[in-house]
């Protein structure tokens, strides 16, 4: 090995398993993610998968076991087990799917997913309310349309994101294809998924210990999840600074030239644990387009080999970077990549929001962005989009702001699509600017981590914030508002101009000062407060913003300049 002597390796994969966390031993003993999942699926006495290890392993297969927390206590009194159900996350690199795939997803959601689909903040679909017996039908149904759920969760590379904003479409096809190649490259290679969900026979030679089923991941995969995303300036819709590994597309006259690379972003933190914090990804330089795969391999290998495997709270890449030093990490990446980073190229981001309504790109195609509040496709929206999918000849794109773009519409198809939308969604743009720029995670009742409401609560809170905005004549002003039901931050609340993370039912931490296009973390201004206090603070600060702001100044920038919150310059200072 070529470790610099200063590098502490006491917490990484070089250590014997018994010195690492229990999850590392669990992964090692899982027979490459098989565990006893197939047996647990047959257990008719419980709606859960009975083994706790299998519950964890199923995340690697894109499946979260959850229960309806609204009825948890009621069912305990009824002498019934919790209302177990599963969330299934589809792997959809770049958030692009065909109309045929849409129709299949729609059909499966109606049959097995409580007649709803959810668009996530990482550009994919989630089925919720799925019962154990419906897992295989859904996964096999997805397989029919060439979709799967491999590694949509778990300690591996999650679905790869890619900007879909039509304003950035010059290289969209090229970059989206690259995103898909990277996704395919980094997914686990184990056949466990095919055996368990498709019922494929186990291939000879893959028996436990027979050989490396996972040439890259080995037997213990990554220390934690690993997120990759591609951004196409001027849109930073994917929040590239929130990725473990972000690629920012740089184009020239000749087309796509390559990417600026940023590493070590991540939102998750834990309340009352100051050693945890959100972090924005750090720029490390530029790579030409043909080196993207090698770069991704090298970055992931560094995290695989040096990431903390003793403490899962500190296992994300961002801590590895801060613990080992950015320069050392960069050097290690360059060594594995076999080439140095070039100097970063200039670029400009203007927003991390979506462009709404119809947009037309230079290729003459039209793109219609539909606002889907909190990404929740209810039956009304499913009906509308099913009708669209039946006539649409382009693609659907899911945005990181949980919206849907009907993309690549030809001139002559546009009237038909307009007619369908007008029929189902008579008031398509009935959303304030504030609401369009808001994100909430799922939280209660299905997410096991949620401490407070999010998706079900944010719309009502936004009504009240809108009233404050109107009072101060700011109704047209875009401000990003993001809410998460827990500190893990699925809605990326720590880079919102107004961030809220749940602490307890009805209680939230309030954060201000994030950058409008995701370039700066926010800072907590009040801890564990209820709605009245939240509105009191916001009323005061928004009032000042209306009176004291400079022309074109964003709300987050204003709160820093006015001294309402101190700027967070680096993640590790977030808790200061």
């Amino acid at each position: 090995m070529t470790d610099a002597p200063a590098i502490d390796r006491s917490r990484d994969i070089s250590q014997p398993l018994d010195r690492l966390s229990a999850d590392e031993r669990m992964k090692d003993a899982s027979d490459q993610l098989r565990g006893t999942i197939a047996i647990g699926l047959l257990d008719r006495i419980t709606g859960a998968v009975p083994s706790a290890d299998d519950v964890k392993l199923m995340k690697f297969h894109g499946i979260y076991q959850q229960d309806d927390r609204d009825v948890r206590d009621e069912r305990r009194r009824q002498k019934l087990e919790p209302a177990f159900q599963f969330m299934i996350r589809v792997r959809l690199p770049g958030g692009v799917c065909t109309p045929a795939q849409w129709l299949k997803l729609d059909e499966l959601a109606r049959a097995h997913g409580g007649e709803t689909l959810r668009i996530t903040t990482r550009q994919t679909f989630q089925f919720h309310w799925v019962l154990k017996d419906s897992l295989r039908p859904i996964i096999q149904g997805l397989h029919d349309t060439l979709l799967d759920t491999v590694a949509a969760c778990g300690d591996d590379s999650r679905g790869v994101m890619c900007t879909v904003d039509p304003q950035s479409s010059r290289f969209h096809a090229e970059v989206a294809a690259l995103a898909k190649r990277v996704s395919d490259h980094v997914i686990p290679k184990t056949r466990a998924y095919h055996e368990i969900w498709y019922g494929n026979e186990r291939v000879a030679g893959s028996e436990a210990g027979a050989g490396p089923e996972e040439p890259f991941y080995g037997r213990t995969y990554m220390p934690r999840k690993f997120k990759i995303g591609f951004a196409l300036p001027p849109s930073n819709d994917i929040d590239v600074y929130a990725q473990d590994l972000g690629f920012i597309a740089i184009g020239g006259e000749e087309g796509l030239e390559g990417f600026n690379v940023v590493i070590g972003g991540g939102m998750g933190r834990t309340d009352q644990a100051p050693e945890t914090y959100p972090r924005l990804a750090s720029p490390v330089g530029f790579v030409p387009a043909d080196r993207v795969i090698a770069c991704a391999d090298a970055v992931m290998a560094v995290q695989r080999d040096y990431g903390d495997r003793k403490d899962r709270q500190r296992a994300r890449f961002k801590y590895t970077i801060d613990d080992k030093g950015l320069d050392w990490i960069k050097g290690e990446i360059e060594r594995l990549m076999g080439a140095p980073f070039e100097g970063a190229r200039p670029f400009t981001f203007t927003s991390n929001g979506d462009s709404y309504g119809w947009n037309t790109t230079p290729d003459g195609r039209h793109h219609r962005t539909l606002v889907i509040e909190n990404g929740r496709l209810d039956l009304r929206l499913l009906d509308a989009l099913r009708d669209v999918a039946r006539v649409h000849r382009g693609t659907f794109r899911l945005t990181p702001n949980q919206n849907v773009i009907i993309a690549g519409v030809r001139d002559d198809d546009r009237p038909a699509i307009d007619a369908i939308l007008a029929e189902h969604l008579p008031e398509p743009d009935d959303f304030s600017v504030l609401r369009r720029n808001a994100i909430a995670c799922v939280a209660l009742p299905t997410c096991g981590l949620a401490m407070a409401e999010s998706e079900r609560y944010l719309p009502g809170l936004l009504d009240k914030i809108e009233a404050i905005m109107a009072e101060h004549g700011l109704s047209g002003e875009p401000i990003t508002v993001r809410m998460s039901g827990c500190p893990n931050g699925c809605s990326r609340p720590y880079i919102a101009e107004i961030g809220l993370t749940g602490r307890a039912p009805g209680k939230y931490n309030l954060y201000l000062g994030g950058g409008f296009h995701g370039e700066r973390l926010n800072r907590m201004i009040r801890e564990n407060i209820g709605e009245a206090a939240i509105l009191e603070v916001l009323s005061d600060v928004i009032g000042r913003y209306s009176r004291e702001r400079e022309p074109g100044e964003h709300f987050g920038d204003f709160t820093i300049r006015a001294g309402i919150v101190r700027e967070v310059t680096e993640g590790r200072f977030f808790n200061d």
């Binding site: 008719r44 006495i45 009825v71 009621e74 019934l80």
Partner: protein, 603 residues
């Protein structure tokens, strides 16, 4: 005064003179007979609280056998009462449950008194099935010289009223036995009619015995079944038990309404065993009472007399009479009063089918409303009604796990008739008007035909819906006893998500080994319906192995479908696994029943 003039002899001089005179007139055989008689008299007198037998009583020269066939225990109670009364009169007799009776003895019987209830659609009580099969089958012996009488219990709301009794009555005659007295059919208010029959039979046989003295048989002391110690609270004197828990135990969105209800028995002195039932002396829904009073046009405080007691009609209809399901007797009564052509037509013999449909779809209030009659006399009206009967629920608890408590699993009976919602008398009361702290009259109904075997014997428990209740009691008991025997539960309901009754308790018992295996069938979770018998057949090899291993089989729940389907499944499993023919498999299952290894509590 009884002071004796003869030291050491506790008799008056007059008594002694009578004894002396009698003894001089006796031959040796008569002396032997009398010595037996006095010995029996002595045994009878030693039992406390027993009335002194009439001095003129005599022992019978013919052997008397009392057979009862019982489902809920009423016929057993009557059989034992009959035995006690016969013994008081000095009649030697044995009493036997048809379930335990050695059918080969039948050919030797002389006098046979039968008390039998009817179950379902004219069927015998389940434990008596084997007896009926024998008596009604080809192997039944000629009974020339034997005599018999039948007391038939039934429920006149069923089409095949007292049918089991009618079948035995006809069959014994066919086999050549002489009918001692015409059969008596009793409705659910059987007590008075049964009492008269018992008195008449005992008097008749005692009188015959007196007329034809015979060698004595030892009376009383030879009771075949011990008479149960009288408990403070029973059916006639129920205990007012407070409800301590009452909650729906099906999840949101269930098509069922099943409830778990707990009573406190503290201070009652009531005890029970797993498998027993709780009787609830339910009262009628006040809304149903007032609806009926409205329909009758009578004020609730209208007074009348019954058996020398004064009642208000409202009170009587609430607590004393069945006022929902109409009986053929009520139909006859109302046809007479109303002179309605439609009702009169239904009385025709050949209209039995329509009649039973009409009775199923018309409650008493519906009939009263549809065929109004003016100036009804309360006393005449109630005379057409049946007394309100307690309802029985299998106990879902064991005293060793829940001391002084009685738990029930109740699925309220709900349906709509003529546009209005109806509920079962007791289940509606338990679901709608039995909040915690409500006090309801309860008693224990023993169910000796549904009992746990020895601790190390494997048990196979099959139940659907509320039929799972006694298995909760079984497992509570086995857990408390640390019983080592294997156990396997088959449970069926409609939907896994909402209707998996006591799910977390079974899961706990599976985890700690109290329950060895569990298979479930939820019929409405998918297009093709799956029931417990399908799960049994899927596991045929193991089920048969358990049977071969001596497992006891229990079936509890629906009588119309579950019981016959499971029965058939058992036969199929035996036939398939033992590679025998159908008849041999049926014999195998029959012998399980005969050995009390196959017990049912179905309703």
């Amino acid at each position: 005064m009884t002071a004796s003039e003869l030291p050491g002899i506790p008799l008056s001089p007059e008594q002694w003179r009578q004894v002396e005179a009698l003894s001089r007139s006796l031959d040796p055989m008569q002396v032997r007979w009398l010595s037996g008689y006095f010995a029996g008299l002595d045994a009878g007198l030693r039992q406390p609280h027993q009335p002194q037998p009439a001095f003129s009583a005599a022992a019978s020269s013919r052997a008397l056998t009392i057979l009862y066939g019982t489902e809920t225990g009423n016929a057993a109670e009557l059989g034992k009462a009959l035995q006690a009364r016969a013994s008081e009169k000095g009649l030697a007799c044995t009493v036997s449950d048809m379930a335990d009776y050695k059918v080969r003895q039948l050919a030797q019987e002389q006098d046979v008194l039968i008390v039998v209830s009817t179950y379902g659609e004219g069927d015998p009580p389940q434990p008596a099935t084997g007896f009926f099969e024998f008596v009604e089958g080809r192997k039944a012996p000629k009974l020339d010289g034997a005599r018999f009488a039948v007391l038939a219990l039934g429920d006149s709301t069923y089409e095949y009223y007292c049918q089991a009794g009618k079948r035995l009555d006809a069959r014994f005659e066919e086999l050549g036995a002489e009918r001692l007295a015409p059969r008596v059919d009793c409705d659910v208010d059987y007590e008075d009619a049964a009492e008269s029959w018992i008195a008449a039979m005992v008097d008749r046989l005692a009188a015959e015995a007196q007329a034809a003295p015979a060698p004595p048989a030892p009376p009383a002391a030879t009771a075949a079944s011990p008479v149960a110690a009288p408990s403070l609270h029973d059916k006639r004197n129920p205990f007012p038990a407070p409800v301590i828990e009452n909650l729906a135990i099906v999840g949101r969105g269930s098509s069922k309404e099943t409830r778990h209800i707990e009573f406190s028995l503290a201070g009652s002195g009531l005890t029970y065993e797993p498998g027993d039932a709780l009787g609830i002396a339910a009262s009628n829904d006040p809304a149903v009472v007032s609806g009926l009073l409205d329909a009758l046009g009578i004020a609730p405080d209208a007074r009348f007399e019954l058996k020398g007691q004064g009642f208000s009609l409202g009170e009587a209809l609430t607590h004393r009479f069945e006022i929902t399901a109409a009986t053929p007797r009520f139909l006859d009564y109302w046809a007479l009063l109303s002179e309605a052509a439609e009702l009169k037509q239904l009385q025709h013999e050949d209209r039995a089918g329509e009649r039973s449909v009409f009775l199923r779809t018309h409650h008493i209030a519906d009939i009263v409303r549809r065929f109004p009659v003016a100036d009804i006399q309360p006393q005449r009206f109630v005379s057409a009604l049946r007394p309100l009967q307690p309802r029985l629920y299998s106990l879902a608890s064991s005293l060793s796990a829940a001391p002084d408590e009685a738990h029930l699993t109740v699925a309220p009976v709900r349906y709509t008739l003529h546009g209005s919602a109806r509920s079962g008398v007791a289940s509606g009361l338990l679901a709608d008007r039995a909040e915690p702290d409500t006090v309801l009259p309860v008693y224990i109904q023993n169910n000796p035909h549904f009992r746990l075997p020895a601790d190390d014997t494997p048990i196979l428990m099959i139940g659907a819906g509320t039929g799972v209740a006694p298995y909760r009691a079984f497992l509570q008991e086995r857990e408390a006893r640390g019983a080592g025997g294997k156990s396997w539960l088959f449970f069926g309901e409609r939907n896994f998500r909402t209707d998996f009754l006591y799910q977390i308790e079974w899961q706990g018992w599976l985890k700690d080994g109290t329950l060895s295996r569990m298979d479930v069938a939820f019929s409405r979770d998918r297009a093709e319906k799956t029931y417990v018998q399908h799960r049994m057949k899927e596991q045929a090899r193991d089920v048969f192995a358990w049977l071969e291993d001596g497992a006891h089989v229990y079936v509890c729940g629906d009588a119309a479908n579950l019981a016959p389907d499971v029965h058939q499944a058992l036969i199929d499993i035996v036939a398939g696994e033992a590679h025998t023919g159908r008849e041999a498999a049926e014999d195998y299952v029959r012998s399980l029943q005969a050995d009390h290894r196959y017990q049912r509590d179905v309703y």
